[in-house]
Each structure stands twice: as structure tokens, then as C-alpha cells.
């Protein structure tokens, strides 16, 4: 599997962890990786994006998140994010784009 994407399973949910830079070179691959996970049988109840290991993100990374959200809706939730991801979401007013991962909210 692509070393930038690490897939785990927790309580029936798929957790996709993205590492490194989330920019124009990764945008299409990130969208495809999420679609591939949600297309598996049996399909996971939902997918949590773990962006805590993302070291850089620009608006192309945000484009990836928007495309994922437009395609899969609330089936995809946002898990932990790194400081650079949080800043970009704040700069672009997209902090509330995804429903928060419930387990993260409970923690």
C-alpha cells in the first residue's frame, strides 16, 4: 500500500491516516484512497480521516477534503488533525466541514 496512507480498523470504522504533505501532488491520490476504502466489502460504517501526521497542507489538501465530503457526505468524519491542518481550516472557514469523530469528541 502507498506509504502515505495507513489504514486501520477501530470499532467497525475505518481509520485512514495520512502522513507527509497534503498538497497538489497528493490531492487526487487522497480522494482515491478514501473511495477505495469505502468501496470494500463489507463496507465500514464510516471512515475517520486521521490528519495528525500531516506536516504541511495548502488549499489543494483542502480541495481533497472538499471533494471527499461532496462525494461521501457524513460517511467520512474528521479525526485528529495537526496544527498546520487546523490553521488552514481556520484560515478558509472550513473548520465545521466534517462532522467530528464521536470518539474524538468523547475523549
Amino acid at each position: 500500500m502507498d506509504p502515505r496512507f495507513d489504514l486501520a480498523s477501530e470499532d467497525g470504522a475505518a481509520v485512514l491516516r495520512i502522513t507527509g504533505d497534503l498538497d497538489i501532488a497528493v490531492e487526487d491520490d487522497a480522494v482515491a484512497a478514501v473511495a477505495a476504502v469505502l468501496a470494500t466489502e463489507p463496507a465500514p460504517a464510516h471512515l475517520v480521516l486521521d490528519l495528525s501526521a500531516v506536516e504541511f497542507m495548502d488549499s489543494s489538501g483542502l480541495r481533497a477534503l472538499l471533494r471527499i465530503h461532496n462525494r461521501h457526505g457524513d460517511q467520512v468524519r474528521l479525526g485528529p488533525v495537526s496544527a498546520v491542518v487546523e490553521r488552514l481550516l481556520e484560515l478558509t472557514g472550513t473548520t465545521d466541514l466534517f462532522p467530528p469523530d464521536e470518539r474524538a469528541a468523547e475523549a
Binding site: 498538497d23 497538489i24 488549499s59
Partner: protein
């Protein structure tokens, strides 16, 4: 420049690099800029903002521009001056933020992170420039 001292300052504090039309160029431009600014002891928050701006501008040139992308940087005591030139005719436009629209967010980021920015069109291309202010002494 006739003064040797001024010329030395010139070569020391500004530089340029050319990037091809490939998606890896955004990352390469960030690395090149970050190295240049670190060598001049530019503050880390300024380096991060400058790298974010350059990533957006080079990406815009890759998506909407034409030809190779030329990145220029100048460091002064007050700011970091960035410009990205390509051979495309399309003029970048700042659109109001809209989470429902995919695309057009690059300049929203540039606008919020930079001290000032603008577009300078010329026959055969355009330059988009941005300034990142440095904290005072």
C-alpha cells in the same frame, strides 16, 4: 550597481528558481524557499507563512498558468517579498470564501496570510507577488 557592497547585499538577500510544469514543483518550491529563508535566520512563523503562500502561488501557476514557473524571493529586515511568474494569460481572482465551492481557495489563503499581495500582468504572462511581514526587533 556600481558599489561592491551593494552588489554583495544583492546576491546575498535575493534569489530565484525555475520550476517545471509538474505537480512535484509545489513541494520543490517550498523546500527551496524554506532552505533559503532558514539560511538567513528568518523567523520560523514567517518561513511557514512564506512556504504556504509560495505553495499556493506555484500551484495556481501549475493549474491555471502556462510554461515554466519562476519564483523570486527577497529578504529584508522588514519582510519577505515573494513573486511567482508564469506565461499564462488568465488573471487570478479573489473570490469570497465559500466552503461549497471546490477551488478558488488558494488566493483566500494568500490574502489572509500575506501582508499585501497583487497581480502584475504583462504581455505574455503575469506575476503574482506577496509580502510576508517580519516581527519587529
Amino acid at each position: 550597481m556600481t558599489d561592491d557592497g551593494a552588489q554583495e547585499t544583492d546576491t546575498k538577500d535575493r534569489s530565484m528558481a525555475v520550476f517545471d510544469r509538474r505537480v512535484e514543483s509545489a513541494s520543490e518550491a517550498r523546500s527551496w524557499l524554506t532552505t533559503f529563508l532558514h539560511e538567513r535566520d528568518v523567523e520560523e512563523t514567517v518561513v511557514m507563512d512564506a512556504a504556504l503562500i509560495v505553495s499556493e502561488l506555484v500551484t495556481n501557476a501549475l493549474r491555471h498558468g502556462a510554461g515554466q514557473t519562476v519564483l523570486r524571493v527577497t529578504v529584508t529586515a522588514a519582510d519577505v517579498q515573494l513573486s511567482v511568474t508564469d506565461s499564462g494569460d488568465a488573471q487570478p481572482q479573489l473570490l469570497p470564501p465559500d466552503p461549497d465551492r471546490v477551488g478558488g481557495l488558494g488566493l483566500v489563503v494568500v490574502n489572509s496570510v500575506s501582508q499585501d499581495w497583487g497581480v502584475a500582468p504583462f504581455p505574455g504572462g503575469k506575476t503574482v507577488w506577496a509580502l510576508v511581514g517580519r516581527p519587529g526587533p
